[in-house]
C-alpha cells in the first residue's frame, strides 16, 4: 500500500486508508480542501500530506515514461494514440468525411458556417442522428444534444433522416449477414429521435445559462457524444451595443465548449452564419462574430455554392490539410453529390 510509505502519524494514515486513499495518485488528484473534508483533518494537515505525496510520487517515478511533475501533463505520443483511437462522427457523405479525416472529430470544437439555405441545419440534424449509429456499425452509439437558437429544427425532417439512416443500416446488415447475424438492427427511427435532447433557447441569456448547465446535464447523461448549436450567432447579433462585452461573453462560452469537449470527449459543432465584412472599401464575405471569435474553434468548415453544387471547405484545422469536397442534401439527408454512391459509409 503506497500510503504507508508516507511519513505520517499512524492515526492520520489510518484515517486516509479508511477514507479510501490508498494510492499516491488518488491523493495527489484531489485538492487539499476535498482531502481535508473526506479524511476529517484540518486543511493545513491535508496540504502537508499533498506536498509529501507529490514529492514521493515525483521521485519514485521520475524515470518512468508517464512521469509528470505538473499534474495532468501527458506526452504527445500518448495523445496521438488516444486521438487515433477516438471515433469520428460520419456525416453520411463520404467525400466530406474524407476531407474531415473520417468525420467530425470528438474532443474538438468544430465550427461550420455558410449562407442561408446551404444546409447548415441539415448537417446538424444529420450529425445528431449519425452519432447514434451503434458501435457494431462503426458509429459511436451515443446521444445528441441539439441547441436550437433559430427555431429551424424540424421534427419531421429529423424523422426522415432517421428513417433513412435505419434503412441504410438494415441494407448494410443485408450485405454483411455472415458476420453480423446476431446484430440485427435494433434501432427504430423513434429511438433515434428519443435520443436527441432538444433545447430551444429564445435569448442570449438563456443560451449562456444553458451552456453553463450543460456540464451537469452531460454528467447525468454520459452517452451524449455530440453537442450541436444551431446557430451560435443568432442571439448575439441583436442588442449588443458593447462589442467588447460581446467578445468577452462569447469567448467565455467558447472556453466552456472546449472544456466540455475535452472532459467528456464529445464533439461540439457550432453552426455559424455569414456576414459581409467591410474592409478596404469593399464588402467581403466572412463568418459572423468577428475576428476574435475565429480563434475559439479548433476546426472551421465553410460551406459555399459552386455553380449548382454545394461545397465544404476546411478553412482552419490543426491536423487536416485544407481541402474542399462537394455534397448534396437529399430527402434522405446528406449524401455524396455523385448519385451513384448513396449508401452511408459505415466503416
Amino acid at each position: 500500500m503506497e500510503t504507508s510509505r508516507l511519513p505520517l502519524s499512524s492515526s492520520i494514515r489510518g484515517k486516509l486508508i479508511s477514507a479510501g486513499y490508498t494510492s499516491l495518485s488518488s491523493i495527489s488528484s484531489v485538492s487539499s480542501t476535498d482531502l481535508a473534508r473526506d479524511v476529517k483533518i484540518t486543511e493545513s494537515e491535508a496540504f502537508e500530506i499533498l506536498k509529501m505525496a507529490n514529492q514521493i510520487s515525483g521521485s519514485s517515478s521520475c524515470n518512468g515514461r508517464s512521469s509528470s511533475l505538473v499534474n495532468g501533463a501527458r506526452n504527445a505520443w500518448d495523445m496521438l494514440n488516444e486521438e487515433e483511437a477516438l471515433p469520428r462522427i460520419t456525416t453520411s457523405c463520404s467525400d466530406l468525411d474524407k476531407i474531415l479525416g473520417g468525420g467530425i472529430s470528438c474532443r474538438d470544437v468544430t465550427e461550420i458556417g455558410g449562407v442561408p439555405g446551404i444546409g447548415k441545419t441539415q448537417i446538424g440534424i444529420q450529425l445528431s442522428v449519425n452519432v447514434q449509429i451503434p458501435r457494431e456499425f462503426g458509429g459511436l452509439g451515443g446521444k445528441a444534444i441539439y441547441i436550437d437558437t433559430e427555431g429551424s429544427f424540424m421534427v419531421e425532417r429529423a424523422l426522415q433522416i432517421a428513417q433513412a439512416c435505419v434503412e441504410d443500416m438494415e441494407e448494410y446488415t443485408g450485405y454483411m449477414h455472415k458476420h453480423f447475424k446476431a446484430s440485427q438492427v435494433q434501432m427504430k427511427p423513434r429511438d433515434i429521435l428519443e435520443n436527441i435532447f432538444y433545447f430551444r433557447v429564445c435569448s442570449y441569456t438563456e443560451q449562456i445559462a444553458l451552456v453553463n448547465h450543460l456540464d451537469k446535464f452531460i454528467s447525468e447523461n454520459k452517452d451524449v457524444k455530440v453537442v450541436i448549436v444551431d446557430s451560435i450567432t443568432f442571439h448575439f447579433r441583436q442588442d449588443f451595443d458593447d462589442l467588447a462585452q460581446r467578445t468577452r461573453v462569447l469567448s467565455e462560452m467558447a472556453l466552456k465548449f472546449m472544456k466540455l469537449a475535452k472532459k467528456f470527449s464529445l464533439a461540439v459543432v457550432l453552426l455559424n452564419q455569414v456576414t459581409t465584412k467591410y474592409t478596404e472599401g469593399s464588402f467581403q464575405l466572412a463568418l459572423a462574430l468577428g475576428d476574435s471569435w475565429s480563434h475559439s474553434c479548433t476546426n472551421r468548415v465553410i460551406l459555399y455554392w459552386n455553380g449548382d453544387e454545394r461545397y465544404a471547405y476546411i478553412d482552419k484545422s490543426p491536423s487536416l490539410p485544407s481541402a474542399s469536397a462537394s455534397y448534396t442534401v437529399t430527402g434522405r439527408g446528406l449524401r455524396n453529390s455523385s448519385s451513384s454512391s448513396k449508401r452511408v459509409k459505415m466503416m
Binding site: 442561408p116 439555405g117 429551424s152 429544427f153 419531421e156 433545447f199 442571439h235 442588442d239 469593399s282 464575405l285
Partner: protein, 380 residues
Amino acid sequence: MNIEYRYEFQILLHLEYARQLTTGCETLDECLRGGFPCDSLTEIVAESGCGKTQLCLQLSLCAQLPISNGGLDGSALYLHSEFPFPFRRLHQLSRSFHLSNPSIYADHNDNPCDHVFIQNVHSVDHLFDVMSKIESFVTNSKTRLPLKLIVLDSVAALFRSEFENTPSDLRKRASCFFKISGKLKQLANKFGLAVVITNQVTDFVESSDGLSGLRIGNLRCLYSSGRRVVPALGLAWANCVNSRVFISRSDDIVCQERRDDDESGSSLVSGRARRRLDIVFSPHLPPSSCEFMITRDGICGVRFFLREMGCSKSVYNHAINFIPQAIAFCMNPIHLVIAISFVVDLVRFSHISLTSSNLCGGRTRYGVVFFPALSGELLV
C-alpha cells in the same frame, strides 16, 4: 436555475409534427407540405403585384379554420406597413370564406373579419413598441379564438427610407433585423404561432464587389416579370428567417382565351397572370415550386383551378396548344418535370387526346420529351 428541455419523443407524441397553417389551396399546400409551419418564421419574397398581400390575407382567414381542416383554430394579427390596408379586399375574401365555411360561425354570432386584427406600423421603433405589446395581447385577449398567426407585411417598407448606405448604418440596421426576428421567434415559440413576413425585391445590379449576386438558397438567381431581382434587405436579413419562399409572375396569361368562346358566361375571365411560388430555402422542404393564380375567391393553384372549373374542351384544346412553348420554355429539369406532370393532369381531367403535333414541339435542350404516363391516352 431552471432550464427546461424537451425530449424529442415528447414533441412527437404530444404535438406530432410542427403544426401547419393551410394556405387554403391544395396546390400550394402540397408544395409547402401542408402549409406554413408554426413556431417558425417564413418569409415571402416577391415584387409588388405578385400576390404577397393576397396570400397573407388568405392566411389570416385560414387561421380560423379548425385544426382538422388544416387551420390553427385561432385568430390573426396583421401588422401592415404598406399603406393603405386593403380592407375592401379582405372583406371580399372574408365573404367567400364565410360562404364556404359556414359551420365555423354557425354557433357564434360573428364573421371572419372579427378574428383578423389589423395594426399599422409606420417605423422600426413603432414595430418594437407594437411587438412588446403582443405578449400581453395574447395572454389577456378575451376573444373566442386565441392568436395563432402574426403577419408582418412588409418588413422592407420599414427599412427602405430610414437607413443610409454607410457601414455604421448598415450595422445598426442588421442589429434591428435580428432584434425583430428574435422577438418574433420568441413569440412564435412561446405561443405556437405561425409567423409570416413579406419582403420586397430590388433589381439586381451588377457591382464590382460581386456580393450582390451572392447565391442564397436553391435558385441560382431569381427572375420576376423577366427581370433579375434580389430580395431586399440583404444577407443579414436572410439569416433571420427560417424559410424563404419566392413568388414571381410571368406575363403569360393562364386562361385569357376563355373570353372568346366563354361558355359558362362567368365574369371571372379577365387576363390572369400566372404566378409561381418557389421554395428558396427551408429546413424541412425540398426545392420545389408550384403555380397559382389569384381569383375573386382568393389564391388558387393552376392545376386545381382547371379541375374545379370543369373547363370546357375548347379551353383544354387551347391549353394543349401551348404545351410545346411551355416545355421549350423550361429552364431546368425540375421545371420540366412540373410541366410534364401538368400535362398529364390536363389530359387526365379533360379526356382529350394529344396528337403528335402537340408533342412535336416538345423538343427541349434535354432532348425530346416523351410522356410515358400518357401512352394509353395517346393511342386513342
